[in-house]
Amino acid sequence: MREGQKKLFAGMTLLAAVAAVASYAFLSSPKGQSITLASTTSTENSGLLGYLLPIFKDESGIAVRVVAVGTGQAMRMAMKGDADVILVHHRPSEEQFVREGYGVERIAVMHNDFVIVGPAADPAGIKGMTDVASALGRVRSSRAFFVSRGDDSGTHKRELSLWAALEFQLGDDDGDWYRQSGSGQGATLNVASEMDAYCLSDRASWVTFANKRSLQLLVEGDPLLLNPYSVILVDPRKYAHIKAAEGQQFIDWLVSEHGQQLIAAFQIEGQQLFFPDALEVAKE
């Protein structure tokens, strides 16, 4: 073979190899219908979505692809058009999201609650308290370690509003007891567990958290700790590519009697973690 011919052959083989790799690599489009759901790490970590979504897929043929980030980030993702539906838990943000035209409507789905966990030694002495404001007040005066999500998530925003109710402003000298992990619930609980610190967590994440060590559930039941979730369809008038029909189908399913019953039936270690809200709202 002449030198020139050989080069041509080598070049074509190379091209074929690249094409083969590229086509294998790039032909990754998911088969069938799918929507992108931006939700929170707490919802994901609880296992609820892993339980619900396969059932929805079986019944509707629509695959729900979950990107689990903090509430703040989930909303910003949706505002950039990178998600079709969001499932989050911070009412003021949700209302603003709809008000600014990004979401069609806020629809209540379920609620769980927040709890305060902390070291068994309980230096702030808050075990068993039902008034979360007082409990946090004691944590602050004892200057015991407290780990915050610090990540603009629904949980973080709730935590900040609880501190605000105490008229407590974080100051520069609070750094020695108030720590911000900037991470999801599980990672934050890890930090709290290692540091023997107090922490605000949603109940579902707490129950499923596998590295509790000496952490215990200390405070629960205050109405201020109620944690309602809403589902919102990203407005297709904002972004034409939003899969509005499938997204609406998912939302309708979630708030249907069937969907709501499934949510109520979800249990971890014998505990029901999420309480359906849609039917009660519908009844109103």
Binding site: A22, A25, N45, V66, G81, D82, G184, A187
Partner: protein, 234 residues
């Protein structure tokens, strides 16, 4: 120590049970990282050789840049590509965000400088050795490139394996551009991150052991396949 024995037991269990979830994750990891490395190598090898052999104005700066980009933080690469691929970003129409393709692109960007820079160094050294001879027998630039690349194949293979190591082990880029979506863009490293964040440290470590095992298998395979060549390589 308890975490470690727990981890080994978990790893063994996963392997023995041939857990299909694990299989899916491992397959995707390999698919993403191998694709990224091959794609990067196809362009990085000739580019590295070219920069080594051709004098052009500003070459020194290009070499410094190539070497510096070996230290690109994966999470920054992930962020930049996320912004590019986001629906509101310049490449949003491609709809590639949160797909394995986006992950391949991100890892390709990470791996490319490693292979290019190491290729450049290898070819440069070989060039010193062979320059007079190659000029004497009248080799053109392309012929020089192919000759030197083949002659340096042992070192270049190591560079490619280094690229693969970087790709299969990183989590910052793939988690941002992939979204760690179950059954879709979840790979070994993002699963380890997830399990760690759920506090399931035994599982996380177990998966980590499997990841290292896979790296060993891939490296062994490469060395064995290249075994014939390595006998003739000194």
């Amino acid at each position: 120590m308890n975490e470690f024995s727990n981890a080994f037991r978990t790893a063994l269990q996963l392997l023995v049970e041939m857990d299909p979830g694990l299989f899916e994750i491992v397959l995707l990891s390999l698919r993403v990282s191998l694709s990224a490395v091959i794609l990067a190598a196809v362009f990085a090898l000739p580019l590295g050789a070219f920069v080594a052999l051709t004098a052009f104005p500003g070459r020194r700066s290009v070499v410094i840049l190539m070497n510096a980009m070996m230290s690109l933080p994966p999470v920054v690469v992930g962020l930049v590509i996320y912004l590019l691929l986001s629906r509101t970003g310049p490449l949003g129409v491609t709809g590639l965000l949160f797909t394995p393709t986006a992950m391949i692109i991100a890892q390709c960007v990470l791996v490319f400088p490693i292979i290019a820079a190491l290729t450049r160094q290898t070819v440069f050294d070989l060039h010193e050795e062979y320059d007079e001879y190659l000029r004497s027998v009248g080799a053109g630039t392309w012929q020089k490139i192919t000759t030197l690349l083949w002659d340096g194949r042992a070192r270049l293979l190591t560079a490619i394996l280094a690229g693969f190591g970087r790709a299969i082990a990183e989590v910052g880029a793939v988690i941002i551009v992939g979204g760690n979506i179950l059954h879709s863009t979840r790979v070994m490293t993002t699963t380890i991150a997830l399990e760690t964040s759920k506090g399931d440290l035994g599982m996380a470590l177990g998966l980590g052991i499997i990841l290292v095992l896979i790296a060993v298998i891939v490296n062994t395979a490469v060395v064995t396949i290249g075994g014939g060549a390595s006998r003739r390589t000194v």
